[in-house]
Amino acid sequence: MRTLLQLLVLACLLPAMVGVAVILFRDYQDGRAQIVEDAVQTARALVRIVDAEFNKAEILGQALATSSYLDQRDLSGFHGRASGLLASTNIASNAVLTGPDGRQIINTLRPFGEPLPMYGDPAVIGQVLASGLPTISGVFAGGLSGAPKITVNLPVLAKGKVVYVLSVGVLPEQLHLILHRQNLAAGWVISIFDNSGIIAARIPGHAQNVGKKANDELIARITGPLEGTFESVTKEGVPAVLVYSRSPVSRWSVAIAVPRQALEARLIRKQIITAIVALLLFAATAGLAWSMGGQISDSVQALTAAAKKLGSGEPIAPSQSHFREAAEVASAMQGASALLAERRGALLELKDQLEIKVAERTKELSAANNELGSFAYAVSHDLRAPLRAMSGFSQVLLDDHGDKLDATAKGYLQQIDNASKRMGELIEGILALSRSTQGDLQREKVDISAMAERQLREFALSEPARPVKWSVEPELTAVGDRRMVEAVMSNLLGNAWKYTGKTNDACIRVHAGLLDGAAAICVTDNGAGFDMAHAKQLFQPFRRLHRQDEFVGIGIGLATVQRIVRRHGGEIRAESAPGAGATFCFTLAGTPSAGAS
């Protein structure tokens, strides 16, 4: 019960957990995208700032390049003018005037007239000379100091011809200062690259990195599309997400490396908190389910125990229920139990009363039966004496005084004798019938086959003139009172013998049969038979289906047989048709397989 509920809760929680995981993942992705987007914005802004810096330098340079001092070839005056302008604007570090041969003519870092070296980046001088357009240099080693330097170079024209190249110096430190102002988060790396991928400024490690080329992969990336994001590793060996933006004007780039750790730490922290909260929630739910499961389980177990007790009829004690429904069921079962106990009590009382009544009735019945039995006995006993007198004296008359009587008188006397003998037989019948229901049943296994053989032989001996054939199935047995079974077989075989009296090829069979699905003993003859319409009268005492002049008899045999069979708890049935013989089958309860073996 508990485990089931736990499983149910888990099944409910599982989608929630998956949902939370999906939300967390989406949140992580969104957060990450946001940070990256912020970095891209920052890089883009920085590129514009760098471009503006160069623009300012170019404007300054433009002002110098068109200076009247140069038109008038007053180089000394130009030196002074340039130095003054630089000092007042604080835009550039210095200004250099270079001749077409690449040699510096004026450098504001040096007093006028001092001999000067060749320009540090001859290629850019050539480029300006060739194109006649302002050009921004890359980072190069300055001709004077050899320190990294950036210049914005402009042509100085005289009569449409480039006569000098004016370079305005921008120090990497200026760019470094720009980066510094961004106040980027710790761990982030931000760099400015010139158009060929040389580092112009970097945080952190500006001094060590200025003038050094970026790695080839980075150069390949930042010289591609104007903006991009990719996974990379910083020079310090930190895995990072790198975003960059390149100026379409100067072709300089700003790259920001957001360390993966820094990128994920915040998000992961957020996720861990969410996950912990979710887990706590789940644990609380599971705990609640466990506790509720226990309560439900306890209640159900209490109910089950009560139901079992109800089933076995034991009284039900009040039980603790945690739920209203369970309590209601428990109370209903208690009510049912009480009701059952009450009914059982009433039933037992009724049963007792009934048993007493049955015992009384049985006693009365058996007394009546005994009375009837002794009455029948006494009556038949006392009836015999007058019969003996009637029969005896008519016989004495015939024997001793026959000579004084005529034939008619002798005939009458004979009728008296006949009548008294017949009455004697009737009395015998009543006695037999009475005996069949008197006395105790003493059940034992009876060999029906042997009994039938013996009785048939006796009939044959009593009437040797009759050629009756018979067959008895071997090993027929029945369990019953031997004396009574003997009477049953004797009556059935006697009838078969009697009613085949007028049949040629008389034949009697004793065999096994079935009666209502139970093994039965059957006696079949091919004698006179009877009409099944009268079958009901067959077993009634003194009822006969044949006249005396057809077959003599008193009509007590089958009544006796039926009483004996019924006393054994068995059944007897007859099958016949006039002239087609008859079959009588009977069962005795307590006969396991009568005749079936």
């Binding site: 006995y377 015999r384 007198a389 029969s391 005896g392 008294s420 003998k421 004697g424």
Partner: protein, 146 residues
């Protein structure tokens, strides 16, 4: 040898007549004394009451004792006879019209020497009585006789 009597204990007058007729047919020399109930039979045999004049040692050769008798039944008479040393060994034949096995068994339990059912057929009855009489009178030497 002195001829001893036959005692018939029978309450039914017709049965008595028929019995006497049957016994006469056998033409026995014995005197036949008849008593009509159990008490009379005991008085006769123990020479008491109305038979106190009789000598007790003058016992009958055989007693034909009907079972159903008024006052004392045949079986009660039999019981008392067997209980007394005088009549303990007296030959007693029980007469009855009953077929009941019970009677026969009880008869033997009380020590009847024989059992005869009174047949309905007079011819058969006479024959039985004759056989009975001849058997007990002629062949049986009664015990305690002289």
């Amino acid at each position: 040898m002195k001829t001893r009597s036959i005692l018939l204990v029978e309450d039914n007058a017709q049965d008595e007549m028929l019995m006497l007729l049957a016994l006469n047919k056998v033409a026995l020399a014995n005197r036949i004394d008849v008593v009509r109930d159990g008490q009379q039979a005991l008085d006769y045999l123990f020479a008491q009451g109305e038979y106190s004049a009789r000598k007790p040692e003058d016992s009958p050769a055989v007693v034909l004792l009907d079972i159903s008798l008024p006052r004392l039944s045949g079986l009660e008479v039999l019981e008392q006879l067997r209980a007394s040393p005088i009549t303990k060994l007296l030959p007693i034949v029980l007469l009855t019209s009953s077929d009941e096995e019970k009677d026969r068994l009880r008869g033997y339990e009380h020590g009847a020497n024989s059992y005869v059912r009174k047949p309905l057929d007079f011819g058969a009855f006479a024959e039985t009585v004759a056989r009975l009489g001849v058997y007990w009178i002629a062949t049986n030497e009664p015990p305690g006789g002289d």
